[in-house]
């Protein structure tokens, strides 16, 4: 492989942009996928931090029964806002928009995505959507209090700014669709010579599968949102029974999107795991095709399980068992991935650096999230646990313990590539360990609370739940400290960090064949691929010297 190692004198993408503008405009108007990825990083990470802070305030309210620091209405708007930010502004766009943008073209050996300007437009649409969310907080009417699921009839009756907030979700949907379109086309059209489908890195595979979901499922939520807005504005009876509509229809439409959206959240994370494990085990991935195909299986079977969010809503018993059965089936491809990842460690040469440790966190936390998914996928147990803290624990384990953990893994893995800087490894290890403790302290009690019968979205609770709630709240403080350490380490390195080796971990996928940070068009010369993706014998040709 001609590994376009770039002469040290060549300008990197920070020094050379796509537009003639300098400074901030050189970023906001840049069509370079790397700059766009970094803009997403800054924006999305900021929203994540806001979401975390809201979460910590909610936990503070829940430290004891009765009102502690706020009123019921405030709590209700906070959990809604926390949910909306975490779902629509953090976790759905998260990995594809940040790391997909930055690394998909690099891993394919392309100069950019297929439609660079469309890519910039997606970012702008995201910004507009985010702005509308913020606007809905301050306009008269007040911040929305419906929960992030916007269930009807409550969301038709609520006098808060529901229409504006869901319109924001509508706008954000377009950003997601356009990004998806862009990635699908990029994968089909811009692979470097020799990069066959089965030589693509698994992060590309999973981002590709995700992109299909983004394109196919997102329009459903768009239409649903428009219908709600029409209903609220003109009193047309679509979902509200008082107007002759059907509230269950809303739930179906909502989950036909929002369940596949769960896979939009997790698939790219699984892709990152499949990158990090081979690099730090320095051997090829076990079961490449099984992992790639299970992504597609998840993407397509994932469309058929939406009604498992509705087991207690009064849908027919036939529908209930069919959706329960399909739910158990969709668990299998995730299991396949976990087994293949662990098998990849067998006879490897493992160097457990921070990105790898994050992945170990992921395997445990995501497995707990997935396995408790079986509990709520089963009909008997779901009618007890549905809409309780058990579910709150389950989805935090999957989304935060799964995708959130991998957000950090990816940051710590690709940080030297994106910024050309290295960070403090010891402190990073401390961050990983603290995260594990804080996370379980914060969320494990919620499983027990749920089984004891504590419903979710509760401002107040029975005294019998107090001690576990207290443990969880203390966990949230520890989590806050962890976040400060984890982000602080990187921000500090950004300014004060030592210059990093262009390939600090000994990775072999194409992004490691160029300099760090990469030049504007990624490669000095477009590489020709004649290896499978995780063939570490390339390290010799790449002049990689292990320390």
């Amino acid at each position: 492989m001609s590994n376009g190692t770039v002469a040290a004198t060549e300008k990197n993408f920070y020094e050379e942009g796509t537009s003639r503008h300098k400074g901030i405009l050189g970023w906001l108007l840049s069509t370079d996928h790397k700059r766009i990825g970094l803009m997403y990083l800054v924006t999305i990470a900021s929203f994540f931090i806001v979401g975390v802070i809201i979460g910590v305030f909610m936990r503070l309210e829940l430290i004891a029964p009765g009102p502690t620091i706020m009123e019921a209405q405030t709590y209700n708007t906070l959990f809604t806002l926390h949910g909306v930010i975490m779902i629509f502004l953090f976790i759905i766009p998260g990995l594809p928009a940040i790391f997909g943008n930055f690394f998909l073209p690099l891993q394919l050996g392309a100069k950019d995505v297929a439609f660079p300007r469309l890519n910039l437009l997606s970012y702008w649409i995201y910004l507009i959507g985010a702005f509308l969310v913020l606007l809905s907080l301050v306009l008269p009417g007040g911040p929305i209090d419906t929960g992030w699921t916007f269930y009807i009839p409550y969301s038709v009756r609520s006098t808060t700014n529901v229409s504006l907030a869901i319109f924001a979700a509508f706008v954000l949907g377009f950003s997601s669709i356009l990004t998806g379109l862009n990635f699908i086309t990029t994968v089909h059209r811009l692979r470097a010579p020799g990069m066959t489908f089965f030589r693509m890195p698994l992060f590309v595979w999973s981002t590709y599968a995700t992109a299909w979901i983004q394109v196919i499922a997102t329009p459903v939520i768009g239409i649903t949102i428009l219908l709600v807005i029409i209903e609220r504005a003109f009193g047309v009876g679509i979902f509200d029974p008082a107007l002759g509509g059907d509230p269950i229809l809303f739930q179906h439409l909502f989950w036909i999107y929002s369940h596949p959206a769960v896979y939009i959240m997790i698939l790219p994370a699984m892709g990152v795991v499949s990158e990090i494990i081979p690099t730090f085990a320095r051997r090829t991935i076990f079961g490449y095709k099984a992992i790639a195909m299970s992504s597609l299986a998840i993407a397509f079977v994932g469309y058929l399980v939406w009604a498992h969010h509705m087991f207690t809503s009064g849908i027919s018993d036939t529908a209930r068992w069919i959706f329960s059965l399909l739910t158990f089936i969709v668990a299998l491809p995730s299991g396949v991935k976990v087994f293949n990842w662990v098998a990849t460690l067998y006879k490897g040469s493992i160097d457990p650096k921070p990105p790898f440790l994050w992945v170990m966190n992921f395997i445990v936390l995501f497995s707990i999230g997935g396995l408790t998914g079986l509990v709520v996928g089963s009909l008997s147990t779901d009618i007890h646990l549905h809409d309780t803290y058990f579910v709150v624990a389950h989805f935090h384990y999957v989304m935060f313990g799964g995708t959130g953990t991998i957000f950090f893994a990816a940051l710590y893995y690709w940080f030297p590539k994106m910024f050309g800087k290295s960070y403090n490894i010891k402190l990073a290890n401390v961050g990983v360990a603290l995260f594990f403790i804080a996370f379980n302290m914060l969320y494990f009690p919620k499983f027990i609370l749920g089984y004891m019968g504590m419903p979710r979205r509760y401002f107040d609770y029975l005294p019998e739940f107090q001690s576990l709630q207290l443990v969880s709240t203390i966990g949230s403080w520890l989590m806050l400290i962890t976040m400060i350490i984890v982000f602080g380490n990187l921000i500090h390195s950004l300014f004060k960090g030592k210059k990093s080796h262009s390939n600090p971990w000994g990775g072999v996928t194409l992004e490691w064949h160029t300099s760090s940070p990469p030049p504007l068009e990624n490669f000095h010369e477009i590489p020709t691929v004649n290896h499978e993706p995780y063939d570490f014998s390339q390290l010799k040709e790449m002049d990689y010297e292990s320390k």
Binding site: Y151, L332, S380, T381, R457
Partner: protein
């Protein structure tokens, strides 16, 4: 799992759900420990050392078949167990005593066939009960944690919930579908009493009278009644 430990199930459904729970959790814990142990073991065993050469193993069809096959059987058994248990919970017995429930923000109303109307649910123990659930406004969900059951109360349709309280006692009823401001305060209770006591109450003329001796019936239950929360007071 409290009822599990005390060995006394509040209702038939309690046992059914707890058993399915134990089944799934036991298998899950074994899988989780297996995966975690294998991972940690490999990380120590194959820790990077000088001169140590990793081995590229591309996969194994047999292993893939095993770890697709066995989990398939496991999840199918979970599905089946969960489904059969659920069928017994949902089946409507012929002799079921029916009560019409109406929910509104943020209270419950129980209407009996003879015209009695209460805001606490009174039922005879050891008798099949069927609740017909209707909403005056938005969605709610009638949830009895001690019985491990709930069903949404959806505006514009009638859902149902069936149970049979094995033990006399007072158990919480919570609202489990978010319904606005006082969602978390939408508690009431189900009081399961001996059939004879229930009959006496049910046949008194005064439609709104609460049963006598209600303190006695609840004395043998550890469940917290709604008054705890309302008494804990806010707003």
């Amino acid at each position: 799992m409290l009822a599990l430990l005390s060995g006394q199930a509040a209702a038939r459904s309690t046992d059914t759900v707890d058993n399915v729970m134990i089944y799934i959790v036991v298998i899950s814990v074994i899988l989780l420990l297996g995966v975690t142990a294998a991972m940690v073991y490999f990380v120590f065993k194959y820790h990077r050392k000088k001169g140590h050469k990793p081995k590229d193993i591309h996969g194994s069809v047999i292993l893939e078949a095993i770890w697709i096959g066995i989990p398939t059987l496991l999840v199918l058994s979970m599905f089946y167990y969960g489904y059969t248990g659920y069928k017994t919970i949902r089946a409507i017995p012929d002799d079921a005593f029916e009560i019409n429930v109406k929910a509104r923000m943020w209270e419950w109303e129980f209407n009996y066939e003879n015209g009695k109307k209460t805001d606490t649910l009174f039922v005879p123990a050891k008798q099949n009960i069927k609740l017909n659930l209707e909403s005056y406004d938005v969605n709610h969900s009638l949830y009895i944690p001690a019985f491990r059951i709930k069903e949404d109360v959806i505006a514009g349709r009638i859902n149902y919930l069936v149970f049979n309280a094995e033990q006399t006692g007072t158990y919480d009823i919570a609202c489990a579908e978010y319904c606005g401001l006082n969602h978390s305060m939408m508690y009431t209770a189900v009081v399961a009493m001996p059939q004879s006591e229930f009959d006496v109450w049910y046949n008194t003329k005064d439609v709104s009278a609460e049963p006598e001796n209600i303190e006695d019936t609840s004395a043998d239950s550890s469940a917290v009644t709604d008054s705890t929360l309302i008494g804990g007071g806010n707003q």
